[in-house]
C-alpha cells in the first residue's frame, strides 16, 4: 500500500477498496466518494488493524450514520453481556459502537471488539487512562495520555474522541461566563479537572502533532470532542461553545494537512430554533468536516424520554448537515441504560436518521416508505411487517388486540378509511355498521 490513510489515498487519486464498498452501499460513484474523502467531507473510519470492519462513510451527503455507546462499568462488568449488546446493536443497524468502558480489563474488551465487531469502533482514551494505569487523574502525565492514544490506535480503534479544543483560556472562560451547566462532557471534564489540578496545558492540545503522527500511522480518525457543548438549553450557543468550535476548525485543518481524517463533535442541549444554525456554523468553521452530534436534545424537562427529545433534535440536525448521530437512551441523565433502553435509543436514532435522509433526498432513502404505503393501501399486513423498522414489536401490537374483521385493525374497525376508499374506488357498496 502506497498510502497511510484513506485521505492520503484519496488525495493521490487512489480509489481504495473501502471507498468502493462505501460507494456501493451509498449508490454513488467511487470517484464521488474519493473526491469527498480527499476534501475531508467524508470520513471512512477504518483502522488498518480493525481487519473485520465493514467500512462506512460518514459525511453529510451520505446516509446518516448512528453510534451506540456501550462498554463495561463498575456497575455492569460482564463482558459477555456487553459483547452481546454490541452485536445486537449492529444487527439493529448501528454503524458505530463507542466503547466507553471504565472498569476492569478494558484492553481485553477493546481487542475483542476490534477482532469481532464489523461496526466502526470508537473510544475516548482519556477515560481509559485512569483505568489503564490504575492511578488517579492528578498523577497522570501528558505522556501517559498520549501513550493510551497510541495503545488504542494499535488495538485497531477506528476513531478516538479527543478533547483537543479546550485550553487554559477555557478555565477562565468557564469561570467568568457562569454557565448553568459548566462542562457536561465526561472526557472534557476530566481534561479540565486535570488542567486545574496540575496547572498544565491540555495535553491533547499541546501534543496534537504527536497525536496526528499516531493517527496517521494506523489511519485513526480523530473525533474532535466538544468539551464545552451546552449541557442545558440556557448554555446553548454561548461563547464557550463557539470559541471551542473555532479551535476545532483550526485543529481540523492541521489534521488534514497530515492526511488524518477528522470528525467534529457537536451539541448537546440546543433549543430547536438554534439547531440548524449550529449545523451551518460548524460546516463553515470546520470546512465541511463531518459533524457528529450527541442529540441534540431540545428540552431539558423530559428525563426518561430523552430518546424522543434527541430524535427531534437529531432529525433536524441531520437534515441541516449533521452526518453522524450519537444515540440517546431513555436512561440518559438518570442511569446506565439497560438492554431495553439501548434498543429504544437505537430505534429513535434510526428514525431521526432516516427521516433526515428522506428530507435530504439521499438516493433511494424513501424506497421502503413507498413500499410500506403500497402494503398499507392493500391492507397487506405481511407486506407491512417487511418494511417495518421493528416488525416484531409492530406485529405484537396488532396481535395483542385482534380486530373483528381481518381487513381492518382494531383502531377503526369497519370505519377504516383504507377499506372504505378501496371499496368506493371499485364502486362497491360500503357497509359501516
Amino acid at each position: 500500500m502506497n498510502y497511510n490513510t484513506q485521505m492520503e489515498a484519496a488525495k493521490k487519486g487512489i480509489i481504495t477498496p473501502q471507498m468502493k464498498l462505501v460507494a456501493k452501499k451509498e449508490c454513488r460513484d467511487p470517484e464521488f466518494i474519493r473526491q469527498y474523502v480527499a476534501e475531508g467531507k467524508i470520513a471512512i473510519c477504518a483502522n488498518k488493524n480493525h481487519k473485520c470492519v465493514d467500512a462506512n462513510g460518514v459525511g453529510s451527503m451520505l446516509r446518516t450514520k448512528i453510534n451506540v455507546n456501550l462498554g463495561v462499568s463498575r456497575d455492569c462488568k460482564d463482558y459477555d453481556v456487553e459483547m452481546k449488546k454490541v452485536m445486537e446493536a449492529v444487527n439493529m443497524g448501528a454503524e458505530a459502537i463507542m466503547d466507553l468502558s471504565s472498569h476492569g480489563d478494558t484492553t481485553g474488551f477493546r481487542r475483542k471488539l476490534t477482532s469481532e465487531c464489523p461496526a466502526m469502533v470508537g473510544t475516548v482514551p482519556v477515560y481509559d487512562s485512569v483505568i489503564h494505569y490504575q492511578r488517579d487523574l492528578a498523577t497522570l502525565t501528558a505522556k501517559d495520555f498520549i501513550e493510551v492514544v497510541r495503545l488504542h490506535a494499535q488495538d485497531g480503534v477506528d476513531f478516538v474522541t479527543l478533547h483537543c479544543g479546550i485550553t487554559r483560556k477555557t478555565i477562565e472562560q468557564i469561570k467568568s461566563h457562569k454557565r448553568k451547566m459548566n462542562i457536561v462532557s465526561r472526557g472534557g471534564s476530566l481534561v479540565f479537572a486535570w488542567m486545574c489540578m496540575t496547572g498544565n496545558e491540555n495535553p491533547f492540545y499541546e501534543y496534537y502533532d504527536e497525536i496526528l503522527e499516531i493517527c496517521r500511522e494506523y489511519d485513526v480518525t480523530i473525533s474532535l470532542g466538544d468539551a464545552c457543548r451546552p449541557g442545558c438549553l440556557a448554555d446553548a450557543g454561548d461563547v464557550c461553545q463557539i470559541d471551542e468550535l473555532v479551535r476545532l476548525g483550526e485543529l481540523t485543518k492541521r489534521a488534514w494537512a497530515k492526511d488524518v481524517q477528522v470528525m467534529v463533535e457537536g451539541p448537546g442541549h440546543v433549543p430547536l430554533d438554534q439547531v440548524e444554525a449550529n449545523m451551518k456554523i460548524q460546516q463553515t468553521i470546520c470546512m465541511g468536516a463531518p459533524f457528529y452530534v450527541l442529540g441534540p436534545i431540545v428540552t431539558d424537562i423530559a428525563p426518561g424520554y430523552d430518546h424522543i427529545t434527541a430524535a427531534i433534535g437529531g432529525a433536524v440536525a441531520a437534515m441541516a448537515g449533521a452526518a453522524f448521530l450519537c444515540y440517546v437512551t431513555p436512561a440518559e441523565h438518570l442511569a446506565l441504560p439497560n438492554v431495553d433502553d439501548v434498543k429504544q435509543g437505537i430505534i429513535a436514532s434510526k428514525i431521526a436518521a432516516h427521516a433526515a435522509d428522506i428530507a435530504k433526498k439521499i438516493p433511494n432513502a424513501r424506497d421502503l416508505d413507498d413500499k410500506m404505503a403500497d402494503a398499507r393501501r392493500k391492507l397487506d399486513w405481511e407486506g407491512q411487517w417487511e418494511c417495518a423498522l421493528d416488525p416484531e414489536y409492530a406485529k405484537s401490537i396488532r396481535d395483542e388486540r385482534t380486530p373483528e374483521f381481518d381487513d381492518t385493525c382494531s383502531m377503526c374497525g369497519k370505519f377504516c378509511a383504507v377499506r372504505s376508499m378501496n371499496k368506493a374506488l371499485s364502486n362497491e357498496y360500503i357497509d359501516i355498521l
Copy 2:
C-alpha cells in the same frame, strides 16, 4: 350577553371572561388576545353549553396545545374506563379531548364529557351519524348529517371536525391522480364514500351556510377537516391536498364573515423538509387561522413508534406555525391504543409542543428547563423530579439502578462530569478511581 361567539365579541371590542382567562394563562394582555380572536388567528373553543370548560386559546402566538383522541368503540365499550382515560389525559396536560366514539350510546358519553371534562371537547359528527341513526351510510341524507351537527352543538361540543373541503371534483382528482394512499382521513373517506354511493355533492360543503348558523348559535368552532391529507410521504403536497387547502381557505373566510371561529386541519405524513412549507402555505392560504395538525409523521416505516415520528414532525410544525397538535400513539396504524399507548402519545406530543414553544420564544416557556439545569448542576435529584414531565417514571429509572455514590448516577459513577466540574471549580481534589 350581547354577542353570540367569542369572535363576534372580539370584533365588537368586548373582552370576554374567556379572553381574560386565556390572557392570564398565556402571560399576555387581554387586549392582545381580543385582537387576535377578532382576526381569527386565535380560536377560543368554548361552546356556551360546555359550562365546565376551562377555556384555552389556540393560535400560533400562544402555547402549543395538544389534543387526545379517545372514545368508545366496538372493541372497547366501557364508558367508565374511557372517562377515566379522559381525566388522566387532562391531568397529563392535554388541552383537548376528541371524542371519536363509534359504538353504543354515543350521546350519553358526549353529554357526560361536556358536563364533566374541563378540556375542550371535539367531535367528528359524520362518524356519529351512522351510529346515531343506526342506519348504514348510503341511506343517510344530507339533512341527517346536518342534524347530527346540531345535536353535537346543543350538547356542548366545543369544536367539530367537518370535511367541508372535498367536492365531487375531488372524486375525479383522487381517481386521476393515482395517489398511493387515496384518502386516509376516516371522516373524509366516509364523506367520499357517501358521495360515490349517492351521486350527491358533499353535504358539509353544500349546506355550509346552514352549518355556520348552527355554529354561530352555540359558538362551536369549526375544525375544517383535511380529507385529502397525505397518508404516506409519497402523497405529501400533491394537488389533492393543496386544492382542498385552497377551498378550506375560502370556507375560513365565509365562517369568519358570520363570526364563526375556525381551525384548519393539516397533515398527516410529510417528509421533514416539507413540514415548514406546509405550515407557511396554510398560514397564507387560510389567513393565519390556527393550524391543527395530525403528526405530521416524517417516515412511514416505524409502526409501533409513530409517537416518535410524530414528535419530530410536530415539533417542527409547531415551531413553523402549527398551533395545535393531535397526539399520535405507538399503536397508530396497528390497533386501538391502550392506556399505556395513550400515555406515551401524550408525553411525546407534550415534548414536541414544549420544544416548539421554547423555539418560538413563547413567554416563560423555558423557565422549567432552566430550573432543571440548576437542579442538575447541584446534583439535586428531588429538584430534578419537580421539573420533570413524568417524575415518577424518571425516578423509577434511577431507583431501579441505584448508584454506588449518592452524588452521581449509575451511568457515569465517579466519572460524572457534573461532579468533576463542581470539584474543579471549587479547587477540590478530584478522585476518579
